[in-house]
């Protein structure tokens, strides 16, 4: 079991889509929302993904194709 923390930023047109629900169903990952700020036009959610590393990877890849921005909670790590 691995755990990976991400921040998802939503553009206006994606705000209403149940993206987090979807990845929880499409992949074997447990999604756990930890912090969020969702407004009318923009929004972000900080999320913990728990599961098998390969499943987490697939979930992240899939999120990226859904038109939202996905970043690790860690900011830049390359120094």
């Amino acid at each position: 079991m691995a755990s990976f923390k991400i921040r998802i930023s939503f553009p206006e047109e994606k705000i209403k889509e149940p993206i987090i629900y979807k990845i929880g169903h499409e992949f074997k990952v447990v999604t756990n929302i930890r912090r969020a700020d969702v407004r009318e036009k923009t929004g972000w959610v900080e999320l913990e993904l728990n599961g098998d590393p390969a499943e987490i990877e697939k979930a992240v890849e899939s999120l990226k194709t859904k038109g939202v921005k996905v970043e690790p909670i860690e900011r830049n790590i390359i120094e």
């Binding site: 691995a2 912090r35 900080e46 690790p72 909670i73 900011r75 790590i77 390359i78 120094e79």
Partner: protein, 413 residues
């Protein structure tokens, strides 16, 4: 891998544990860097009452001529096991440069000669790897394009630890050599910068490695305080009036500010009447632009600058660096690529110090702050020059004069 779970008594006396900078939640002093509750960064929580009981100027002055003389204020349990010679670099009174800039009491803290890999990263890595060994790790890792990788690879070799260095797939061969020579495993990740960042976060969560700037970051970052400690001691136990610090992740600046304040809190210096100013490259200035636009949040940027060692577009500690500059009533300035090259040449020509691009940015910013009168003539100023020019020769190769060629005869001369 066997990992120590019990924390020794010595450490307990000096350190209470880790503490979330945002919500204050406490954690044991293990390899952990984000708060499980609010995702805020964790910081070492010292037992200052205990430290105050035995620390003194004399005790420090009688210590080793390295950053380990400040061990009482560093997050390690026992004696250092690696990086014994890091730190205690020269504080140079820069009379020539001062005269050119109209500053009467200018000093350069010269970390271009840090041991063993010629940048300030030897400080943070000496602490990180000593702590990683105390925690029982047998493998260390980092993601880096330059100075950090050099230092981690060198210290891992000395400590006989397995070492993994992650780099973006398109990095030039020359950049890799300074790490490869120490024979770590270098993993070039095909994909862009963001992909490497994400992969490293995942790897850090998955493998039982000491990732120096991820799960060991709370300890690692504390190493930068020694730049403040040394400066104060070298000035005769005084804080300067103004310091100029290059900013990438923002950790260095944040910790220099913390270091001076710690000395004051412990009564080792009388006061901290000091402004801290940050230097960034114009092509990667997320913190400087937040300062200039009066924002309290950092908007990430895509870096485009020759100062690659400080090109961090989404800095982990940018928010705290910004806060430190505000608290101290300092300022931010930026330097273009041309100004950076001029800065490198100016420092070399006046003081005989060859700095890398981050140093060029710092000197260029120092010059601007002096010209704008933000730094005044009479102030005691310290500029932190944090990396060696021999590592970034490509930046100046076309900006120096040609050699004078002659035949081997006096006539020709």
């Amino acid at each position: 891998m066997s990992r120590k779970s019990a924390v020794s008594d010595i450490l307990k006396q000096k350190i209470k544990g880790l503490k979330c900078r945002e919500c204050g939640k406490l954690y044991p002093p293990v390899a952990l860097h984000v708060c499980e509750f609010c995702f805020g960064p964790l910081e070492v929580d010292y037992n200052y009452d205990e430290i105050r009981r035995h620390i003194s100027r004399e005790r420090i002055e009688n210590g080793p001529k390295s950053l380990w003389r400040y061990a009482d204020l560093l997050p390690v349990e026992g004696p250092p096991t690696v990086g014994l010679y890091a730190g205690f670099t020269p504080l140079i009174e820069a009379k020539n440069l001062g005269a050119e800039l109209g500053l009467k009491k200018l000093y350069i803290k010269n970390d271009t000669v840090n041991h063993p890999t010629l940048s300030f990263k030897d400080r943070v890595v000496a602490i990180a790897i000593t702590r990683a060994m105390e925690l029982g790790f047998t493998a260390v890792a980092c993601a880096s394009t330059g100075n950090l990788a050099n230092s981690v690879a060198a210290h891992a070799a000395e400590a006989r630890l397995r070492c993994y260095v992650f780099i973006p797939g398109d990095l030039e061969a020359g950049k890799i050599l300074g790490s490869l020579i120490y024979a770590p495993t270098i993993v070039a990740v095909e994909g862009n910068y963001d992909d490497v960042n994400r992969l490293c976060s995942e790897v850090a969560g998955e493998y039982d490695w000491a990732f120096v700037n991820i799960n060991i970051r709370p300890y690692y970052a504390e190493g930068s305080k020694t730049l403040a400690f040394e400066t104060a001691e070298q000035l005769g136990w005084k804080a300067p009036d103004h310091v100029v610090v290059p900013v990438a992740s923002g950790s260095l600046l944040t910790k220099i500010w913390k270091g001076f304040n710690e000395l004051k809190m412990l009564g080792l210096i009388d006061r901290v009447d000091m402004r801290v100013s940050g230097a960034q490259a114009e092509g990667c200035a997320p913190v400087a632009s937040a300062f200039k636009e009066g924002r309290d949040f950092i908007r990430p940027v895509k870096p485009k600058t020759i100062a690659k060692s400080i090109a961090i577009g989404n800095p982990a500690d940018g928010y705290y660096a910004l806060k430190a500059v505000h608290e101290s009533k300092g300022a931010f300035e930026t330097a273009t690529d041309e100004e950076t090259v001029e800065g490198i040449k100016l420092l070399a020509r006046t003081e005989g110090i060859f700095a890398e691009t981050a140093g060029g940015v710092t000197i260029a910013v120092l010059k601007k702050l002096a010209q704008k009168g933000i730094i005044s003539k009479e102030e005691t100023v310290v500029a932190y020059v944090t990396g060696n020019g021999l590592k970034t020769q490509e930046a100046v190769i076309n900006a120096v004069d040609e050699v004078v060629r002659i035949d081997p005869s006096l006539d020709s001369f």
